[in-house]
Symmetry: C3
Subunit: 154 residues, 3 copies
Amino acid sequence: MKKIKLITCLVLLLAAVHLQAQDNALEKNSHYTGASATKKQYKAIYQLDQNDPHIIEKTFRNINNALSDPRLTGKLQVELVAFSGGTNAYLKNSNYGEDLKKLVEKGVIVAQCNNTLQERNISRDSLYNFIAIVPSGNGELIIREQEGWTIIKP
Amino acid sequence: MKKIKLITCLVLLLAAVHLQAQDNALEKNSHYTGASATKKQYKAIYQLDQNDPHIIEKTFRNINNALSDPRLTGKLQVELVAFSGGTNAYLKNSNYGEDLKKLVEKGVIVAQCNNTLQERNISRDSLYNFIAIVPSGNGELIIREQEGWTIIKP
Amino acid sequence: MKKIKLITCLVLLLAAVHLQAQDNALEKNSHYTGASATKKQYKAIYQLDQNDPHIIEKTFRNINNALSDPRLTGKLQVELVAFSGGTNAYLKNSNYGEDLKKLVEKGVIVAQCNNTLQERNISRDSLYNFIAIVPSGNGELIIREQEGWTIIKP
């Protein structure tokens, strides 16, 4: 009988220790408040490759949220590159002209993949005339990341 | 006639050489067994920004697969950051409480974008109380990547 | 009356200055022609994790566009790693055998996540026999990025 009592006690103790460890991990997680921005400059390139109004509007929201993150204020340079279906956001008859202009005025580079224009037979003139043209969207992402930019796909 | 025979022979030879080169490339590819993990530590931040059960569950599977990759065992630190539609996975009435707790117990930082809470008028209290809050999900991705973390979007 | 005229003039002047600044920003953006590739070598790993013909075909197009970007010609090494639903592109009964062979012949590493094969009970033999197998797709992405490769998710 004494042995059984001892074993029961030990099992209960171990269970309590495990629960305490769980609680500690959860407690510790809840106190995390985000990474600190210790660098002088940050650079991010946003990939817009879907013709979906939810994704297009999310992309604008994402960029604006990054630019106004208190950790990054005044330290963040942004480029937006469209290719594949994302190109539709730049067409003159899209509804996004004002959103795009506001991004450019905030210093965001707004660029379009030339390959997509050729593949889809879209003329340069059907895009807002302030849009920049780059040889390929994928090349732009690869070169930028290896220059230290972060790729974000909303 | 001699000339024609010679040309036919050459063409067949070149075709054979080309097929051999093809076969060699395919054979060589089949022998690749994955990159070697030569660094002491690896860090990855997972982006959860869609309210889609398939994507949410895939994200948990992806993180668990990375943590149990034999090349990375004991060397990989992970953060999961939710924003936009991904926030729904953290709501107390979601079905993901146990999955999220298990991630935290494995050392994964589980964090939520504060901008999304404000934009969607979601109170801190409607999320599991162990969730960490960061100023913006996009800022977190950008700062982390420039600290050497890898961004993965499932 | 003189004061009112003066204020009106000032307001009009400020508005004109603001419009000029807007125009300058838009004009400057339109002249951007893409980042310059100053490095000797570039490496990109493409993530294929959806069983969606549009995404699979977009992935092939994206890789080919990157390889033929004039800034990257002869400087770009590419790997394609499939996991989750992306695995279907490698099944012998898919329609993608020729596209995949062409990638391998261009020097692209074409690899499959072993975890997905186990989770979905897919035998090695049901994939094209030239496909490489890596322990996990997520591990491969993380290790590659920390070796200097750029992750692209089409």
